[in-house]
């Protein structure tokens, strides 16, 4: 294991450099504290620290409502993730197929879903499909587009994993007399999954972020419930701050989990 760049550059300072770094650290800390104090003062000066704006967070009903929103977010994200994992596999199989009429449509679908914003797909489900006579519930107006655009990305992640499995594995499995389907599902794909689990979990962060658009279709996820709270209590800044922190915490936890899974196994 080679040393990190920071250690090489600043690892063995002489006493003078060390003293300078310490002095600089103190100065930087002081500046940062002043900035933080400035922000707090700005809140105070704008009257955003008034107890009446924050008292709603003392009520269990507020947290219950936010928890319901969080549950909505996670329910939509989970279903979208399942859609993405399954449809992604179908698209991958199409893309790897030797049959041209299976491969080209799969490539087209993957490229299309990857290249169009999720929000645009949500608007199609929300504004365009109803006029064509297709009525979806708000849950599906959000979950389906998110699941579809994630599926295309997941298909590419799967493909990267499959391509990373050494070619000899396929050859060996074939020479043992396994059918093509057996080679893929029993030999190649399980190994591919082990390479890409971190990337798949990281994709979950993007799914959670995309479900934020739930308020566009008025599906009761965290952001939508935040808007309802704001409409009721006029506590714009506190509610948005708390919701932003909640989103950050959930996504940070998922990112951490992905990094843990990404560590080499012994």
């Amino acid at each position: 294991m080679s040393r990190a760049l920071e250690d090489i550059l600043f690892g063995a300072p002489n006493p003078k450099a060390r003293a300078a770094a310490r002095a600089m650290s103190v100065a930087v800390a002081a500046v940062l504290l002043v900035v933080a104090a400035g922000i707090v003062y700005q809140f105070h000066a704008a009257g955003q620290l008034d107890a009446r704006l924050w008292k709603l967070f003392a009520w269990p009903t507020t947290w219950g409502f936010l928890a319901k929103g969080m549950f909505g977010t996670l329910a939509s994200a989970t279903t979208a993730a399942v859609i993405a994992l399954v449809l992604g596999l179908v698209l991958l199989l199409g893309r790897l197929s030797r049959l041209r009429f299976a491969r080209w449509p799969s490539v087209a679908v993957i490229e299309f879903l990857r290249g169009v914003p999720t929000l645009l797909l949500i608007y199609v489900c929300f504004l365009v499909l109803p006029s064509a006579g297709i009525k979806l519930s708000t849950y599906w107006m959000l979950t389906l587009p998110v699941g579809l655009s994630t599926a295309a990305v997941v298909a590419e992640v799967y493909r990267a994993g499959v391509l990373a499995v050494p070619r000899g594995q396929t050859d060996a499995a074939r020479s043992l007399g396994l059918t093509e389907a057996q080679v893929f599902f029993f030999v190649v794909f399980p190994q591919a999954l082990r390479y890409i689990v971190p990337a798949l979990v990281a994709q979950l962060v993007i799914v959670v972020k995309d479900t934020t658009f739930g308020y566009v279709v008025t599906y009761g996820e965290l952001m939508q419930n935040a808007k309802v709270l704001i409409a009721n209590y006029h506590a714009l800044v506190p509610v948005y701050l708390v919701v932003a922190v909640l989103y950050c915490l959930v996504n940070y936890a998922i990112s951490r989990a992905s990094k843990q899974l990404g560590r080499p196994m012994h």
């Binding site: 080679s2 760049l5 090489i8 955003q48 948005y240």
Partner: protein
Amino acid sequence: MGNVSRLLADYGPAFGQALLLTWKLTAVSFVAGFMLGTVVTVLRLLPLRPLRFVLTVYVEIFRNIPSVALLIFIVFALPDLNVLIDYEPSVILTLALVCSAFTADYLRTGINTVAGGQAEAALSLGMRPIRVITAVVLPQALRAVVQPMTSLLIALMLSTSLASQVPYPGRELTALVAKIANDSAAGMSAFAVAAAMYLASGLLIAWAGAALEKKVRILR
């Protein structure tokens, strides 16, 4: 096909403007976010604990917050704190902040690809640490991150669609589709045209990124 040509006759110039606005938002926020991210990366290398801590928190916040939540906060909550930012700068600020966090993340990975021996060699030649970073490490790190930065630019281009979430008078592609779908029955063809424009922009960026990658990549 008749639907699309009728739509283009009615809304052709609007689509042209929307595409240009999408490109403009993408380009401005990418340049700003990229520069900010590079600065953050360099500052995180300095042996200043408080600064490193704050910047790590900064990167984690803007990597994990949903962009639309950030945009809504900037547009609707900041005025309550007596900070008023116009709609277009708000969108650019949102995208630039998110872009800077991801840039910092990717660039750090790029820095890790530069062999430590190079920094040691540069130091032994008498270069100052800052000079080692800017003259030896950073140029190589930048060349190593062309591919992830291309993906980031495409993701950013698609994220400009969230400008449709604020009452912004200029309409980018997604806002235009939402308006056409609201006003008329031409939603499906509007969607097809906008999707084609997004796809073409994405392919253009991917192609430019691949060309740049081929030109600057370091074969080890």
